[in-house]
Each structure stands twice: as structure tokens, then as C-alpha cells.
């Protein structure tokens, strides 16, 4: 009994600590109300905030339209139709997830800028000079919308596709028997049934859009994230940054709310579905369908990857540079440490949730899993305020007692980074591990126990082997996410500590795009691992849906 209440306490404490950045920001907003000192806020409001809001809104609407169009059309074509390349496409369409948006932004700048190969070729062919022709500006709000849509549409694709597969043939056949044409079936049955999934996928993509810093910064679009960064680093105004972060958080909360609601509605489950017969496309229809699917794949993955490869070959010398390998080592060490730490936390929370499912524990675990929605920069701002104030206390105490200044123990070291990563990526590993744990039914525990195994032996004999794949997946997912993470790393890294993501960002910032190639390519290669895992899981669950229900060992 004592042990269990002690354990509950650790679970609740973990959730509270994970929630610190969030609490700090909420607290600063509340403080604003009490102290009535609105000078910073009103100044920001008079100058930059309307622009941030306008740009963010345009960006959100644009990306929403983009991801829905790309995601839903590709999902429908690859599930309901058969055409050459459809099987390959059904998993390849996930590939854009492997490339961080800011890196796609760099490659597009490289390819389509005035000095890029595309415009140069145009000028050579038609013998144009500067100003003779109109070409859309890549580094613009429109460019940001295109790049983010291309990178984020797989979210909508993945979730909508799962729904389309689950839709049973009988629903569509009932529609046909009631006099609907195949197209009407799509618009009046399949699409409305998939609506919760589409909303979920879109809100996920929009959360990423709000959290994005690298792309909008490179394209010179002022949004909340760039605003927070500028207010903090450019103007040195931490309070202003906190308040901007608060506003961003409100937008994110609205998105979470929408997402939760749509998930609640997503219970149009159709039990034991017989898969609908696919439309076999031939001739120009098949050509059109594959073109429509290849285009986003080409623009979202193949072209950027090719550009990165070209740059990496161009800057071959970088690969022999010990600095570069030091950077790689830093990145990977950080990723491994963070992944191990976060997965251990997730295991502790998930087991707590399973074994002592009291109300307090359930709320705590759900709260700890909220971080995925909070932009890295917001976490960084909240955390910085918290850690520096603790550091100040430590320094004062230490100087008084030992006459020694230990320096910034928390905010100036990797502790801050690991903390921020834990807040942001705990939910990823928590979800993976809870899914794995869910596969181990309670009756299996009991079956082992009644055969004479003590609880610890049950853990070793049953849980460990069954949970290993989930833990492994969680480690990879978190590790790769950490590797690619830019804004929080940029802000919280200790001095003289660089990672691949930061190097790519710095090189692109210095207009040395080709130099950003090798680190970016490295990240894309590593980023491919979770995408492959994801596509394997997707194909497997599809097979499981088609077969009769039976139990499958947990993988991915």
C-alpha cells in the first residue's frame, strides 16, 4: 500500500515537471492580468502582433487546403483504385515525412531562386535577362505554404487511408444500390465517413505548421515562432517572448480541442469489413492517377533528396572534415541519451497507468502526453525562465555557503535540452509503449501468474519479450525526432555545442546552401528509418484488417 502511493506520487510529479514550461507560460499570462502591466503586450499588439496573426492564419488556411487536397486524393487513389505503381506509391507517399520542412525549404530555395539551376536554365533557353520575366518568389508566404503542404500531407494521407481501408464494401454497395454513381459514392459516403480522420490528420499537420520555425524563418515570413525568437534574442525581451508564446499556445489549444472532438466522432467503426472491390484503371485514367500521386512524392521527397545529394557531392570535402563528424557524434549521442531517458519515463508512466489506474494517475499520464502539440520554441521559452531562476538560486546559495560560483548548472548545460526534448517527445514514446502494452492482455499476466510465476518473473518472461519491439520503435521514433528538432535545440544548446540540425540552419542562414547539404542529407537518411517502420506497420495493419481477427505478435 505504501509502495503504491509512493509510486503514484512519482507519476504525478513526473507529469507536473513535464508540464513546467506550460505552467510557466500560463502563469505569466495570469500575472499579466493581475499586475495590469500591459505595456509590453500593448506595444507588441500595436506593432507586430496583427502581422503575426495575419501571416499565421494565411499559413494555416493555405496548409490546411494543401494537405487535404494532396492527402485525401492520394489516399483515395491508392486504396480504391488499381493502377501501375499503386502498391509502391502506397508506402512511398510517406517518404516526405523523412525530410524536415526547413530542409525542403533550403533545397527549394537552392533550386528555384534567381541563381538556382531552374531559373538559370530558363534564362539560357529563352535568352532572358534579369527582370525580363516573372517567376514566383520562392522565399515568400506562398512558398512556405507549398513547402509545408508537401512535407506534411502524409499525416492526412496516413490517417485517411486507414479509414478508407476500413470502410466496408457493403456501405459503398448500399450506396450504389440506392442509385449513386461511383463518384457520388465517394463524395456522399466515403468522404463524409472519413471526415473525422481528415480533420485529425489536418490538425496534426497544422500543429506542425504552428511549431515550424526553420521554414518561415528562412522564407522571411513573420509568424509567432519567428516573432518569439526575435523578441527574445533580438530585443532581449523575455517577458514579451513569453506573452507571444502564450498567444501561440492558445492557438495550439484550439487545435487540440478540434482534434480531440474529431477523434471522439471517429467511432464510425465498421466491424469485420469486407474490402471494397477496387476500380481497375486503364489508359489515360491510370496515367492521370499515377501522375497525381507521383507529383507530391516527387516534389516532397525526390527533388529535395536529389538536391541534397548533389550538394553533398559538390561539398565532398565536408565528409572528411573531423568537425563534421564531431557534429554527427554530438547529434547522435544527444539523440540516444534523450531517447533512452524518454523511453524509461514513458515505461514508468505507462506501467503506472496500467497497474494503478486511479483518476489522479490517469489525468497525470494524459497531461504528460500533451507535449507533442506544444511548439518547441514555446517549450524553450517557458523552460528557460524556469531553469535560469533555479540556477540563480543555486548560485546565490553556493556563493554564500561555499564561496564558489558553479555557473549555470541547468540552463547552460545539456540538462535544459534533455528536459525540453522530454516535454516535447514524451508523448511519442508514451503512445508507442501504451499501444504495445495494450497488446499484452491482462489475462496473459494472470495466466502466467496462476502457473506459478511471481509478478517480477511475469515481467521478465512475458512483458519483456513482448514489449521489446515497442520499446525499440519508441527509441527510434524519439531519437530521430530529437535529431531533426531545430528551434528548441537552437535556443537551449550550451555554448559551443552544435548539432547537425543547427549546422544546416546556420549554413542556410549564411546563404551557404550547399554547405547545408551534408548535414541535411545525414538527417534525411536517419529520418528514413522511422518512415520505413511506419510504412511496415501500415501495410501490416492493412493485412490484419483484411484477415479474420486473430492475434498477431506485436511488431512496430
Amino acid at each position: 500500500m505504501r509502495y503504491s502511493s509512493w509510486r503514484q506520487l512519482t507519476l504525478i510529479t513526473t507529469a507536473v515537471i513535464i508540464g513546467v514550461p506550460l505552467l510557466i507560460i500560463c502563469w505569466s499570462m495570469l500575472q499579466l492580468l493581475w499586475t495590469d502591466d500591459l505595456s509590453t503586450l500593448s506595444h507588441l499588439w500595436d506593432t507586430v502582433v496583427p502581422e503575426y496573426i495575419r501571416h499565421s492564419l494565411i499559413l494555416l488556411v493555405g496548409v490546411a487546403v494543401g494537405v487535404v487536397v494532396l492527402g485525401v486524393s492520394t489516399a483515395w487513389l491508392t486504396t480504391a483504385c488499381r493502377f501501375p505503381g499503386q502498391r509502391l506509391l502506397s508506402w512511398a507517399l510517406l517518404l516526405p515525412l523523412a525530410v524536415p520542412a526547413y530542409i525542403v525549404a533550403y533545397t527549394y530555395t537552392g533550386m528555384f531562386d534567381y541563381a538556382g539551376p531552374f531559373q538559370t536554365a530558363l534564362r539560357d533557353w529563352f535568352d532572358w535577362g534579369y527582370g525580363d520575366y516573372w517567376f514566383p518568389e520562392v522565399r515568400s508566404l506562398g512558398g512556405a505554404i507549398v513547402v509545408l503542404s508537401l512535407v506534411l500531407f502524409p499525416y492526412v494521407y496516413l490517417i485517411t487511408r486507414a479509414t478508407f481501408i476500413q470502410q466496408s464494401a457493403t456501405t459503398l454497395e448500399a450506396g450504389r444500390s440506392l442509385g449513386l454513381s461511383p463518384w457520388q459514392c465517394f463524395f456522399r459516403l466515403a468522404l463524409p465517413l472519413a471526415r473525422p480522420a481528415i480533420v485529425t490528420g489536418t490538425t496534426l499537420a497544422l500543429m506542425e505548421t504552428l511549431a515550424d520555425y526553420g521554414t518561415v524563418q528562412h522564407f522571411g515570413v513573420t509568424t509567432f515562432t519567428t516573432g518569439i525568437f526575435r523578441t527574445w534574442y533580438g530585443l532581449g525581451d523575455l517577458m514579451g517572448a513569453l506573452q507571444l508564446a502564450g498567444m501561440l499556445l492558445v492557438a495550439v489549444m484550439a487545435l487540440i480541442f478540434i482534434e480531440r472532438r474529431s477523434r471522439r466522432q471517429a467511432r464510425y467503426d465498421q466491424r469485420n469489413p469486407r474490402p471494397a472491390t477496387a476500380f481497375v484503371l486503364r489508359g489515360w485514367r491510370a496515367l492521370g492517377a499515377s501522375l497525381l500521386c507521383w507529383l507530391p512524392l516527387l516534389c516532397g521527397f525526390v527533388l529535395p533528396a536529389l538536391q541534397l545529394t548533389l550538394w553533398s557531392i559538390e561539398r565532398a570535402a565536408v565528409w572528411q572534415d573531423p568537425d563534421f563528424w564531431q557534429l554527427t557524434f554530438n547529434s547522435f549521442t544527444l539523440a540516444v541519451c534523450a531517447a533512452v531517458l524518454i523511453v524509461i519515463m514513458a515505461l514508468w508512466l505507462a506501467y503506472g497507468r496500467r497497474q494503478i489506474p486511479t483518476r489522479a494517475v490517469r489525468t497525470s499520464v494524459a497531461f504528460a502526453g500533451m507535449g507533442y502539440a506544444i511548439p518547441g520554441l514555446v517549450i524553450a521559452v517557458g523552460l528557460m525562465v524556469f531553469l535560469t531562476s533555479i540556477d540563480q538560486v543555486i548560485i546565490t546559495v553556493s556563493e554564500q555557503w561555499f564561496n564558489y560560483n558553479p555557473g549555470l548548472l541547468l540552463s547552460g548545460t545539456l540538462v535544459a535540452l534533455l528536459f525540453a526534448y522530454s516535454v516535447r517527445f514524451l508523448s511519442v514514446s508514451l503512445q508507442t509503449i501504451q499501444a504495445g502494452l495494450g497488446e499484452i492482455r491482462p489475462s496473459m499476466d494472470e495466466a502466467a501468474q496462476i502457473q506459478g510465476y511471481s509478478p517480477l518473473q511475469v515481467l521478465r518472461k512475458i512483458h519483456l519479450p513482448l514489449l521489446r519491439p515497442s520499446v525499440f520503435t519508441a527509441l527510434i521514433l524519439v531519437g530521430v525526432d530529437v535529431l531533426k528538432e531545430l528551434p528548441a535545440t537552437l535556443v537551449l544548446r550550451p555554448f559551443d555545442f552544435n548539432t547537425l540540425a543547427v549546422r544546416a540552419y546556420e549554413m542556410a542562414g549564411d546563404e551557404r546552401l550547399a554547405d547545408a547539404g551534408p548535414p541535411a542529407l545525414m538527417m534525411v537518411l536517419v529520418g528514413l528509418i522511422p518512415v520505413i517502420l511506419l510504412s511496415r506497420a501500415m501495410l501490416k495493419s492493412q493485412q490484419a484488417a483484411l484477415k479474420e481477427q486473430e492475434f498477431v505478435p506485436v511488431t512496430a
Binding site: S443, A447, Q449, I450, Q451, G452, K461, F551, V552, P553
Partner: protein, 374 residues
């Protein structure tokens, strides 16, 4: 010596009483069966015998040694009890041989191999050692789950709705097979189910649970023919409960007519009682004065089960061989052929004394229905 003995055990979750005052016992080698609608507490009862559930009061003894009471709760792994779970709970990462030998912790490798082979032969799956659970069909998984529970030779085997996830045909065949296997191994077993056919196929002793209470613990034959409680009569088999009023001349006025039985003398005249009429207690007879209209016909293969309506609107069930056909809406004659009377008082409990002698029936269709329609 009882292998398993429960003495007035109570289980509750917070304020909700799940099991109320249940007592039962099983002798070595007997197969017991708990029947009841879902949510009646039978699974909870089973789990408290296994040790996954603590008791509020009462005692559980296995081989005359106490395993559970209000304060003692011997851990499941120390009880020497085997269990077959509703969802089988096979370990997906282990093959069939490892699953079966999972509980034989102290046995040597050769002992395990021999026992696995023996059990696989018994359950009709020889050579399946290296298969994995997901490669087996539902029925095969069920048998492996049973073999796993039997492998360590438990003192007592508990089965929690073991056949409920299988289709009906397989279910009855497996029930018979499992009974044979348990008898061969001389295992004492307690089974929980909501399917009475399963219970009748398996059990030496059976009981019906309702809202946490064990209404009757008896042989299946007695549960059917001599239910101690109106709800047992309702739950087991087909049948109708008819109302009647006791007269002072050892007879009972009922929709079927005047029923006479010496034991009716023990009941006060004017008492309202209900009595059980099984479909085989009513025989179609064209010459009978008791007339009824056929409302529905259910084809049961060898028999037709007819729902018939007496003139007063009271419905009865009757069986007749399937070559003898009545159309729905036809007016037919019925003759009661009761071997014995099963009479329940207003508190739903059976009244004693009616079992050994058949009642005599005097059809008076003109009296009662008129009284009721008036």
C-alpha cells in the same frame, strides 16, 4: 474430502455486491458448472477461487486447506490451480510447446518434452510443438490453452467461458471432448458459462447464479426437472410458468384445468402459486376438451416447438413430432401429461413434496378462461 469448498463467500466492489453468500463444494474428479446470465457474478466467483479477487467474507478451501477468507489471500501462483481463460491468453511470443510447458517450472527438459507430447496427443494436435499461437485456428488455440492449464497437473482446473469465442457447432463437440479429457486425467474442474447445453454436456454438478446468488447447486437432471427456484426454471430449458389458485380439496385451479395432487393439502386454500409446464408436459390430442390456437411454429428438426394460445390469452409451449404438422392459426386439442408438479410460492421458491407423484388433471376449459376474460 472435498477438493474445493466455498463457505458463504461474499465479494463486493465498493458498494456493489457481486457475489452474495455463495456456498458450494466439489469432490475429487467432479466437474462443476456455474450457469447464469452475463453480469451475474460467476466470473468474479471463479476469479476469487483463482486468487485474483479478495473476499469480503466467507472462506475458500482447497483440499481442506484455507486459501481465502476476509484476511488471508494466498497468492494465485501458490494455489496449485489451473485456469483456462475466455480469450485463451496464449503467449504470442512462445510456440505451442513452450506455451504448454510454461507452468512446469521444476520439471526437467525431458519431462517437459514428454508431457507436451502426451498432452498434444490427448488434445488431438500431435506434432504441433513448433507452431505459434497465431498460426492456429480458434478451436486449436482453445485446446492448447487447455493443455497449458493441465500440464502442471493442477489440483483444480478453472475454466472461464472457455468455448464462448468459438462457433456453436465446434462448441458442443469440444465440450464433450474436454469432458473426456478431464475425466481421463481425473481432474477436478469448475466451469463458468452462460450456455446450458455446454453445462449439460460437461457437468456432474451445476448451479444457476443470478445477481450474485447461487440459486441451486445440483445435478443437471435435477436443475431441469426439479428447479428449486422459479428463476432456475426460467433459465434452464424451455417452459412456461402458469398461475393457479389452490383449492381446499387438494386441487389447483389453473388454465389447464383442475390439477389434483395429495401434497396440495399442505397449502392453504386460496394461495396463488405458479407451476412449471415444460413443452413435453403438453401433448397435442384432437379429442381433448382443452382447445388452443397455434400462434407460431418453430422447426427443431425431429420436433416442432409450437407456441399455442389458450382462449384466455395464456401462451403455452408444446412439442410434437415434426411429421405431425399444424398450421399457424389452427385450433388444436391439448392434453396435459405432467409427470410431477413443480410449484413455486409467491417468493419464487419451490414448494416441496410434489416430485414423487404425478398429478391428475381434469380439464375445465369452460370455467377459468371465462373467469379471466370477464
Amino acid at each position: 474430502m472435498s477438493r474445493l469448498q466455498l463457505d458463504s463467500i461474499n465479494v463486493s466492489f465498493g458498494d456493489v455486491h457481486i457475489v452474495r453468500d455463495v456456498s458450494l463444494d466439489l469432490q475429487q474428479g467432479e466437474i462443476g458448472c456455474l450457469l447464469g446470465p452475463s453480469g451475474c457474478g460467476k466470473t468474479t466467483l471463479l476469479r476469487s477461487i483463482a486468487g485474483f479477487q479478495t473476499l469480503q467474507s466467507g472462506t475458500i478451501q482447497i483440499d481442506d486447506s484455507l486459501v481465502s477468507n476476509q484476511t488471508v489471500n494466498v497468492a494465485p501462483e501458490l494455489r496449485g490451480v489451473g485456469m483456462v481463460f475466455q480469450d485463451f491468453a496464449l503467449f504470442p511470443h512462445l510456440n505451442v510447446a513452450d506455451n504448454i510447458s510454461f507452468g512446469m517450472r521444476k520439471a526437467s527438459a525431458s519431462e517437459r518434452r514428454a508431457r507436451v507430447e502426451e498432452l498434444l496427443n490427448r488434445i488431438g494436435l500431435p506434432g504441433y510443438q513448433k507452431r505459434f499461437p497465431h498460426e492456429l485456428s480458434g478451436g486449436q488455440q482453445q485446446r492448447v490453452a487447455l493443455a497449458r492449464a493441465l500440464a502442471p497437473r493442477p489440483r483444480l482446473l478453472l475454466l472461464d467461458e472457455p468455448f464462448s469465442s468459438l462457433d456453436a457447432e465446434l462448441r458442443e463437440r469440444l465440450a464433450v471432448e474436454v469432458r473426456e479429457l478431464l475425466k481421463k486425467e481425473n481432474i477436478t474442474a469448475l466451469l463458468v458459462t452462460h450456455d446450458q447445453h455446454e453445462a449439460f454436456a460437461m457437468a456432474d454438478k451445476a448451479g444457476v447464479m443470478y445477481q450474485g446468488e447461487l440459486l441451486q447447486w445440483d445435478t443437471p437432471y435435477q436443475l431441469y426437472h426439479q428447479p428449486k427456484h422459479q428463476l432456475v426454471a426460467d433459465f434452464i430449458g424451455h417452459g412456461v410458468l402458469l398461475q393457479g389458485i389452490v383449492n381446499d380439496d387438494a386441487s389447483l385451479t389453473s388454465p389447464l384445468g383442475q390439477l389434483s395432487h395429495p401434497s396440495l393439502l399442505d397449502i392453504d386454500a386460496g394461495t396463488r402459486v405458479s407451476f412449471l409446464v415444460r413443452p413435453d408436459d403438453i401433448v397435442p390430442d384432437p379429442t381433448s376438451r382443452l382447445r388452443a390456437t397455434v400462434k407460431a411454429r418453430g422447426f427443431r428438426g425431429a420436433h416442432n416447438l409450437y407456441t399455442v394460445e389458450l382462449p384466455g390469452g395464456i401462451e403455452l409451449l408444446t412439442l410434437s413430432p415434426s411429421h405431425e404438422q399444424f398450421q399457424v392459426g389452427a385450433n388444436i386439442g391439448l392434453r396435459p401429461e405432467l409427470d410431477h408438479l413443480v410449484i413455486f410460492a409467491a417468493n419464487l421458491c419451490e414448494l416441496p413434496g410434489f416430485y414423487d407423484q404425478a398429478p391428475t388433471v381434469q380439464p375445465l376449459p369452460a370455467v377459468i378462461p371465462k373467469a379471466q376474460t370477464a
